[in-house]
Symmetry: C2
Subunit: 254 residues, 2 copies
């Protein structure tokens, strides 16, 4: 029998999952990770409907990920994979990956999840029937990214405003978590984004962004050498920090 | 042998191709139409690389489409189809459809295309090798939507501004045509969009929107009855009309 902790699907990479580099955008990379984990949960009888029986839903607390220098191109057939790494009473940890058909990984991510009561809007113990089928080991500790200092208009290199749009909301009736990446990276501008390739990232979700909030995206370049750059990027609604991230960029050759 | 005019692929509908209704958003519906037509062209040896040999690329002039009341839900396996309907020296017409596995159509669209010289940025005759393999009939006339009066800030019911973002640009290094739909529909607001289901639409692309333009989206509700509503929606950059569309909406029951 297959390992119930792991699940993979084949995926034909669409052009609209890629940015102008012809490789998957970060928001779509994470969206594909969510896609395979939702299919995994459905397959195990632990999908959205099972969560709603407990008046709850999974939320993502944080991601961290590494990307290879080599990335797939739209039109490629790839593997999306996920593994339920560990679970305890309040938290679960999943691994996600994108790979070629030979299993060579383009990206590996780890995500920390918890389960919220949809009425009280707060974390509740994870119902056993939602995780037992995976036979995942007991999760010891969380490896969440550490908090960074909050950027202000003055300490940021730049800030830009983004109105939350109707189509930022997904079938869960919440602003899709992956949109935060588009808001975070856009202020860096075409010149920076075309010259740099993302190699590592982490993000912590702190507070929910809602429709039709006005989001403020701030960034600061922390280090920049001949070969790489590091940025911290934060999303605010008013004075409230909603997401805190850092990105490691490798300069593209040419 | 199969009819070279037609091409279909199976597609597993991802949650991020759907909006909060759990059905495909209009922008993703059109993106999936483009996806299947690009795969069709690739399959026939008439893809992007073949176009670039002539220093050219296809552009879309207009779409019109009809949507059924019944729509697929994320997770569904669907069919994406396309047919090269007709071709003449300067124009081509394609049909696109989304269907269930039994062939029942959720949406049918027609698109008018031309071929542009990428240096001169203007329409050129379609190279024969890009269309001959389809054995499509001679296209008589174009059926483009008629022009509507240009909305102004005063004559529009509402206008909203949208900054073109880095991730609006696709692998063709142009603002993706499907983004226009998100800009067009967002100003209608959640209240309207949640209560209405799109049943028919047409759009004419008039001028290219570029990064980092500031887009103005204007709409006017033209008719609204107990059962349906009709809106005209236009995209401007400055005073220049970039896209002109109309949408027929059916009120949702409940």
């Amino acid at each position: 029998m297959e390992n119930p902790q792991e699940y993979t699907i084949r995926h034909h990479l669409a052009y609209y999952e890629c940015d102008q580099s012809s490789h998957p955008s970060l928001s779509m990379l994470v969206a594909m990770a969510v896609l395979v984990s939702e299919r995994h949960a459905e397959e195990m009888g632990c999908g959205r409907a099972a969560g709603l029986k407990h008046n709850g839903a999974w939320i993502i607390l944080s991601y961290e990920g590494q990307l290879s220098a080599e990335q797939p191109v739209f039109g490629d057939e790839i593997i999306l994979g996920t593994k339920m790494v560990g679970v305890n009473r309040f938290f679960a940890q999943r691994e996600f990956w994108l790979a070629d058909l030979a299993g060579h990984r383009f990206a590996t991510m780890t995500g920390q999840l918890s389960f919220v009561d949809l009425t009280k809007r707060r974390i509740q113990a994870i119902p056993d029937e939602l995780v037992a089928p995976f036979h995942a080991p007991k999760l010891k500790g969380l490896t969440r990214p550490r908090n960074q200092e909050e950027l202000t208009k003055e300490t940021a290199d730049r800030q830009a405003g983004y109105q939350v749009r109707y189509f930022d909301i997904d079938g869960n009736h919440h602003v899709n978590n992956t949109r935060y990446f588009d808001w975070m990276l856009d202020p860096l501008g075409a010149d920076f984004l075309n010259r740099h390739q993302l190699r590592r990232f982490n993000i912590s979700y702190k507070n929910e962004v809602r429709y039709p909030d006005q989001v403020i995206s701030r960034y600061k370049l922390q280090t920049s050498s001949k070969d790489e750059a590091k940025s911290m990027n934060q999303i605010f609604v008013g004075d409230k920090l909603c997401a805190d991230a850092s990105f490691l960029w490798q300069k593209r050759e040419n």
